[in-house]
C-alpha cells in the first residue's frame, strides 16, 4: 500500500498521552489514508477512545504530532477542526427534548457565522436525514427513537457538518446484529475517510479497508484485516484462544474466539 503517496486524513506520529503518570497512549503512530475506513481494535482500556479523543482534540497529547483532516491540532481552533471533522462520540445524551431535525442541525454550529441562515440549514438537515434513510424521523422527538434510529440520526448530524473525516467511537454499541450491519454499511457507503473504534473483530474485518490493533496504549499492528488479525496476534492481545476462518459468503476473515484453556 503506497500510503506515502496518498494524502492522509489522519496522521498520528509518536503520540503519547499521560494522565496521573499512566501512559494511556504510548508513542502511537497511525495513519488513515484519505477515503479509507480504518477500524480501531483492542481490548477494553487499550486506548481506543483516548486515541479518538486525541484525534479530535478533546484530549491533549503530551508528545508527538497529530494532524487531523489536514490540520495540525497544536495550532487549530476547535471550530476550524469541526468544519472538517465530525465525531460520533459515546456521550450523546438520549433524553433530550429536541426534535430529530433540531439534533441534525446541531451539525451546522461550526459553520454558522451569524445567527441567521436557518432556512438553508433546515434543507441541508433534511438532505442528511435522507442520506441515512431517516426522512420520516424528522419531526419525531429524539428521546423516543430506538437505538438504531438514534445512531442513524446522530450520523446524519455528523454529515450535516459536511466533514471530510468521520471519527466514530463504538457506533454499534447496544445495536442488534442487523442494525450493526446497517450502520456500518451506511458509513461505508458515504465514501468519507473514517476512523472507527469497534469491538467486533469480524465486523471490522468485513467493513474496514485497514485495521489498527491497540494493546496497553501501544499500536501492535496496522494493515489489512487479513494481515493484522492473525490467530496468534488475537490470542496474544485478547488472551483468548482464536481461530481465523474464511467467511463462507464474503471470503473475509471470520474471527472466532473461545476461552483460553488452562493448565
Amino acid at each position: 500500500m503506497s500510503a506515502l503517496a496518498t494524502e492522509l486524513a489522519v496522521e498520528l506520529c509518536d503520540v503519547s498521552v499521560v494522565i496521573d503518570g499512566r501512559a494511556l497512549l504510548d508513542r502511537v503512530s497511525l495513519e488513515v489514508p484519505t477515503g479509507q475506513m480504518v477500524g480501531l481494535l483492542g481490548p477494553n482500556g487499550s486506548g481506543k477512545s483516548t486515541l479518538l479523543r486525541t484525534t479530535y482534540g478533546a484530549m491533549r497529547h503530551h508528545s508527538g504530532h497529530v494532524r487531523t483532516a489536514g490540520l495540525d491540532l497544536a495550532t487549530t481552533r476547535p471550530r476550524d477542526l469541526a468544519r472538517r471533522c465530525a465525531v460520533l462520540a459515546q456521550d450523546h445524551a438520549t433524553d433530550l427534548q429536541l426534535s430529530v431535525l433540531d439534533v441534525v442541525q446541531l451539525g451546522r454550529i461550526p459553520h454558522r457565522r451569524s445567527r441567521g441562515a436557518r432556512g438553508t440549514d433546515t434543507d441541508l438537515a433534511r438532505d442528511c436525514l435522507a442520506r441515512v434513510r431517516g426522512e420520516e424521523l424528522a419531526d419525531r422527538d429524539f428521546s423516543t427513537l430506538s437505538g438504531g434510529e438514534r445512531q442513524r440520526v446522530l450520523l446524519a448530524r455528523a454529515l450535516c457538518q459536511e466533514p471530510e473525516l468521520l471519527l466514530l467511537d463504538e457506533p454499534t454499541n447496544h445495536l442488534d446484529v442487523s442494525h450493526q450491519l446497517e450502520l456500518l454499511e451506511l458509513v461505508r457507503s458515504l465514501g468519507i475517510s473514517c476512523l472507527v473504534a469497534l469491538h467486533d473483530l469480524t465486523l471490522a474485518a468485513a467493513y474496514c479497508d485497514q485495521v489498527a490493533l491497540l494493546q496497553h496504549g501501544r499500536l501492535v499492528a496496522q494493515g489489512s484485516p487479513e494481515a493484522v488479525l492473525t490467530s496468534e496476534r488475537v490470542e496474544e492481545v485478547y488472551a483468548v484462544t482464536c481461530d481465523v476462518l474464511t467467511h463462507p459468503r464474503t471470503a473475509r476473515p471470520l474471527i472466532t474466539v473461545s476461552p483460553r484453556r488452562r493448565g
Binding site: 479530535y56 478533546a58 481552533r77 469541526a82 465525531v87 462520540a89 450523546h92 454550529i109 428521546s143 423516543t144
Partner: protein
Amino acid sequence: MSTTSLRRTPLPRPPQPVLVAGLFLLLIASAVVCIGLGPIAVNPTTTARVLWAHLVPGEHEATWSLIDERIVWVFRTPRVLLAALVGATLALVGVVLQAVVRNPLADPYLLGASSGAALGAVIGLVLGATVPGLVVSGSAFAGAVLAGLLVYSLASRGGRIEPLRLVLAGVALSYLFSAATSWITVTADHGKLPGLLFFLLGSVASATWGTLLLPALGLGIGIGYAWWRVDHFNAIMTGDETATSLGVDVTRFRVETLLVTSLLVGSVVAVAGGIGFVGMVVPHVCRLMVGAEHRRLLPVSLLVGALLLVVVDTVARTAASPRELPIGVVTALVGTPFFLWLLRRRPVGVGS
C-alpha cells in the same frame, strides 16, 4: 430502552411567533391588572390611561385623581417592573445553568451565587447600614461574583470543569454561606433584622424607578450574551465530547457562563434578595411547551419567568393584606409541589 415507547407524546406546540406574541400580550395585560391591585384598587382602564400618559409624550387630559396617579406610577409600576425583570433574569439563569451543567435541578441557588449574594448583603447590612441602598447592593453583588469564582475554582481540576463536581461544590458552598448568614442574623442587633429577612426571603417591595437600573442592565447583558451563545447551549447539553467535536471550547464556555450568571444573580439579589424556585421551575415548564432548543426556549422562558413573578408578587402583597408575604415564601409554596411532581414524573438525572 424498552420503556421509550411508554414515554409521553409531546404536547402540541403552537408556532413560536404566536406563542411569544401571546405571552408578551399576557405579560402586559397581567402587569396592568396587577398594578391596579392592592389596598387601594385602581381599575385597569385607569391604570392603562395613567401609564399611557407617562409613556407617550403629548397632551393628556387627566381623568384620574392625583392619588391614583401616584399609586400607579410612583409605587406600583416600578414594583411590577422589578418583579418582571427579576423573574426573567432568574429564568434566564436557570436555562443557562441547566444546559451547562446538564442537570435538570440546577438553579441559581445550586451554584452558590444566590447564597453568596445573600451573605454579601447581610454582611453589608450589618457593617454599613448607614447608606443601605448602595452598600447592600454592592456587597450582594460582590458576594454573588465571589461565590461564583469560588465554586469555579473548587470545581476545576487540571483546567477541566466537570458538571457533577460543579454542582457538588455549589451545594456544599451554599450550605456554608447559609450557615454564615444565619450566624450573622442571630448575632446581629435586632434593629437590623427586618432588613436581613428581606434578603433571606426575597422581596421586590423596595422597588423605585432607580432600583430598576441595575437589574435591567444585568438582564440586557444576559439576553445579549445568551443569544450570542445560543448554539453553544444547544451543543453542550448533548454532552461534553459531542460539544467539543462541534467546535465548542467546553471548559472556557463553562467559565464564561459561570461568570455571566454570577453577575446576573448578583444584580438580582442586590435589589430583590434571594427568590427561589423560579430559576428551576420556569425552564422546565417552558421545555415542556417548546422543547429544549434554545432559540425557542430562551424567549419563552424569559416571558414566562417575568409573568410568573409579576403574578406571584401580586399574590404576596395582597393575599394576607395588610401584611405582605415574602415573595420567596410564595414561590416556594408554588415551587415545592411542582418539584415533587417533577421528581415523580421523570427519572432523576440526565440520560435514561
